[in-house]
Symmetry: D2
Subunit: 335 residues, 4 copies
Amino acid sequence: MIVILKPGAPEQDVRALCGQFQAQGLSIHESTGEHTRLLGLIGDTSRVDVDSVLASPIVEAVRRVSEPYKKANRKFHPADTVVEVAGRKIGGGHFAVMAGPCSVESEAQIVEVARGVQAAGAAFLRGGAFKPRTSPYSFQGMRAEGLALLRRARAATGLPIVTEIMNTEHIPLFSDVDMIQVGARNMQNFELLKELGRLKTPILLKRGLSSTIEEFLMSAEYIMSEGNENVILCERGIRTFEPSTRNTLDISAVPMLKSKTHLPVIVDPSHAAGIAWMVEPLALAAVAAGADGLMIEVHNDPAHAKSDGAQSLTPAQFAGVMDKVRKSVEFFRGL
Amino acid sequence: MIVILKPGAPEQDVRALCGQFQAQGLSIHESTGEHTRLLGLIGDTSRVDVDSVLASPIVEAVRRVSEPYKKANRKFHPADTVVEVAGRKIGGGHFAVMAGPCSVESEAQIVEVARGVQAAGAAFLRGGAFKPRTSPYSFQGMRAEGLALLRRARAATGLPIVTEIMNTEHIPLFSDVDMIQVGARNMQNFELLKELGRLKTPILLKRGLSSTIEEFLMSAEYIMSEGNENVILCERGIRTFEPSTRNTLDISAVPMLKSKTHLPVIVDPSHAAGIAWMVEPLALAAVAAGADGLMIEVHNDPAHAKSDGAQSLTPAQFAGVMDKVRKSVEFFRGL
Amino acid sequence: MIVILKPGAPEQDVRALCGQFQAQGLSIHESTGEHTRLLGLIGDTSRVDVDSVLASPIVEAVRRVSEPYKKANRKFHPADTVVEVAGRKIGGGHFAVMAGPCSVESEAQIVEVARGVQAAGAAFLRGGAFKPRTSPYSFQGMRAEGLALLRRARAATGLPIVTEIMNTEHIPLFSDVDMIQVGARNMQNFELLKELGRLKTPILLKRGLSSTIEEFLMSAEYIMSEGNENVILCERGIRTFEPSTRNTLDISAVPMLKSKTHLPVIVDPSHAAGIAWMVEPLALAAVAAGADGLMIEVHNDPAHAKSDGAQSLTPAQFAGVMDKVRKSVEFFRGL
Amino acid sequence: MIVILKPGAPEQDVRALCGQFQAQGLSIHESTGEHTRLLGLIGDTSRVDVDSVLASPIVEAVRRVSEPYKKANRKFHPADTVVEVAGRKIGGGHFAVMAGPCSVESEAQIVEVARGVQAAGAAFLRGGAFKPRTSPYSFQGMRAEGLALLRRARAATGLPIVTEIMNTEHIPLFSDVDMIQVGARNMQNFELLKELGRLKTPILLKRGLSSTIEEFLMSAEYIMSEGNENVILCERGIRTFEPSTRNTLDISAVPMLKSKTHLPVIVDPSHAAGIAWMVEPLALAAVAAGADGLMIEVHNDPAHAKSDGAQSLTPAQFAGVMDKVRKSVEFFRGL
């Protein structure tokens, strides 16, 4: 961490500030130029509060040099993490697709979709039981009953299930869920992240709509710092000024995340654009950019879906996309 | 709501779609141009799922005409809502300032700051007990103990207290809090909003970093639709590309919100910029733009604050800002 | 175009407004709901000024239904446009790569790079003679002399040249340039677009940093409406809040543009991220998403480049990327 | 400037890099921590190309410490610049309002508006002759004829005129214009900025839609570095994700710019929101935040304006706003 001092900072105040840093176990390199004077802090600065340093009347600016995350940092764990769920692997060269409806709506629906996505090659069944909806007047999900239906679809197909949690109070309901999803709107629900960090269940963490890559990794760090290192990151589009797609898929986030962390990185092309016909090109782009997997919305009857119909594929459309995805994964593996 | 059909949509599919809308109690006006054919849906469209409509293969686009919020909508409640807390009013011409430290750190600190902000004219004491922090390695707040200290500061000064909640499980701890704050990162924590909607305590709802004004009002609607209509909205800066301030204060949101809703609207100039010296000009701009109040961070020793030191004022600085704020409120009231 | 009237608009004002629209040759469909009353304008609304309509005291909102661009619109020209330059084709299944240095720096440099990119399979030589730089103290390009050196590199290799224009006054200097580039910062330099529209030379139009896809197409329309229909669109990253890459590549823009327009669409992965090692994954993602070509920065000595060194590949690195790009284009063609 | 080296950078490469910096007249302070090694560059780094440094294979990151602008920098020119035009002053405590129509449409129109804004207290007449319009099918301005009509309005009222230039070729036409405006879309039209830097006419420079404050100041630096130091900066709204206003007024930019530069800073509340009724609250907020002036659109008949009608005030509405602005300027001067 580099602390840039204001011109003319009184020497005794500089000494006092240095004393504070040394009390935190840091050593200090000073360097003085014509217009600027710097303090380089050496040691573990992850606990230094940048804002408190900035509050000092003699400090002009502070620049971080090292990343504030540790357990998620590839520098300290160079090898890829492989997350294993019910015999299926993701990361470290293992590619996996999670598919299913936005919302679980009935036993018939979820079992039919589960069979469809299984036949097409999906490794996981996704489906929402607790639904975060912008409007209180929209369908809020079948909640505990939806979880029960997911279990039946799992029993019918053998597919492990991935489903979203919205509240710490619901954790007991999720005890036999194979992978727990934290949605974009809860990426910085820190109380939830900490509780999930105390479980062993793998966590699928989605990037917040306006979260930087560093904030995303800090949220993974929240889970990991409590002991659960089975975290999968999911890029699902960020909010920009462009109105023609619901969000803007940040495809660069895939190689950037993979350079900064050892955790698996998947892409959700359904939420990224919010448009069914765009799922295929974005899914292929994600494979080309090096993603470890995909999460895709599939519904047996999108025009009557209770949520997110506009971005859902039919099982037949999904089979077409999966065929191309499978061939692309193999092509890029051999490239 | 207007549904724009694709060119050449088969007549029988159009009839089927119209049938669906009619089954939802809507009536339909059709209009056909050279290149476009539209369906105008008349009636209560707040429950129509735009995405499902978009999933129809004959639909090109959907445009909402009426706002999806009702209880928060000024169209249906033209008069300003005045929220009253322990004898202090906000909204409808009543201006109030909430001030205090980002984090409660000790009894001495919170009581000292409470006395300082009271002397300067603040109507509420704010202070964080549960702290949402980007890093798991940062100070996480004193939690229940912090709430106890806030109560002591209230006892010492008579100032009602405002403090942030992060989780539904903590609601019992907040039973005697005067106003409960929902932070920007929890603006779309819908489970929390619904639970808070079942209380009588006034809720201070902060705008999410990348939330549109419509989404902000839909989150207020979540609380109100459960029965709690004591909601105060707080603009606190949005995330943009500009790096010189922590966030970008969306000052236009003040008049825009006040035109769309009857709820009180306040501004938090401390979080908006993240810079202590910028609190004064932004606070005055908020008054000029018509805000009903302010929330300002004040700390007895910003350079040693456990969080947000860079944006905290000392009690003396706060007194200076308050003096100008008070005069400005009066000036604009008479303008 | 749909005009949403304010509740209670006086009938005689509505009639006057309708009269104005009819005077512009439009016919009107009215529809009246419980809370809203709409006018649907039928006919050619591309000349209707939305802002003037909004200025009417009885108008609440206006929604466009049809796109404001015509010549660039795929609806009216379903077949892909193929741009042909010196025997090389782009669009309609023809994939092409343009490569070269950010800035032309010397004859030796540009000829060496031209030979390198030609050997690796580039179809065009790119190189900047007029350079838009954020700082007046940065290298501003060799200007006319740089154009002369580009011609020598073309003579030495046979590669057609692509180079950026910044001002209408320089048009005569560009008379024998094979393709003229309009940079992101000039995407809405309308005087320049109009003048380029009067030439026959193909134009490579880059998307502005914060331009929507519709604005991008309107800028193409500027060129096309003056008679020059040889326009190639280039997505090169948009400005967002994410700081880890220079810009955010909007990969969704590729399929979205290709659905809306018949013009060829290429991607510049060098400027998108601003990071040399990220060019390869982003180039492959662009191919997967359906791009018609790529523009890539290559420099013989990036660490001593006078501009954009951080994102430039060496000729050897470029050859490696090209090998993968070529195989990927073939793979996706056969998929 | 601080250069952060990659872990394990070979010593001889580090020495070579240091040699390069020393050859540019810089001295170097090294500091080495457990995981990081830094080079602090001391001296004039404004000509160091950050991208070339980043291209070195041993460099991980580069952080600027000092601002890249000099002539615009308040550090080197602490006193406020006062720009004087035809006896009217802006900056350094002098507040001025520029008002008039978006487009000049006829002699009758511009003279009528000029008289109206003069009577209400505007110090300058603004009016567009050359109009940057998103669509080639929209009214493009009266061009040279519009400039002639502005001159007549000036003759009739004595108000100095401010009007936008779009192209270097038009500079001779602007020889007797009192203040030349550079619009948001041309903020980085560097060829134009350089030519305007060779004039003596004061330049009103508008911030680009997605330009950072630093880029804005670098564009002012372009003009100033050529010799013309009469630059007025205008904040006019930036592009964000929020759709309810055309742009988002960055009110924080006012105090931030005034802290970083000695140039006058004005605000355009008309373009910022694009909504006539929002001009008043935003204008008052700008005054409260410390702006040195305002630019406001006024039209004698907004509903029939050829451009920007939605955001134009009538002369009577403008008089109402001016009355409040004048009182507010006085109030804040005395605060």
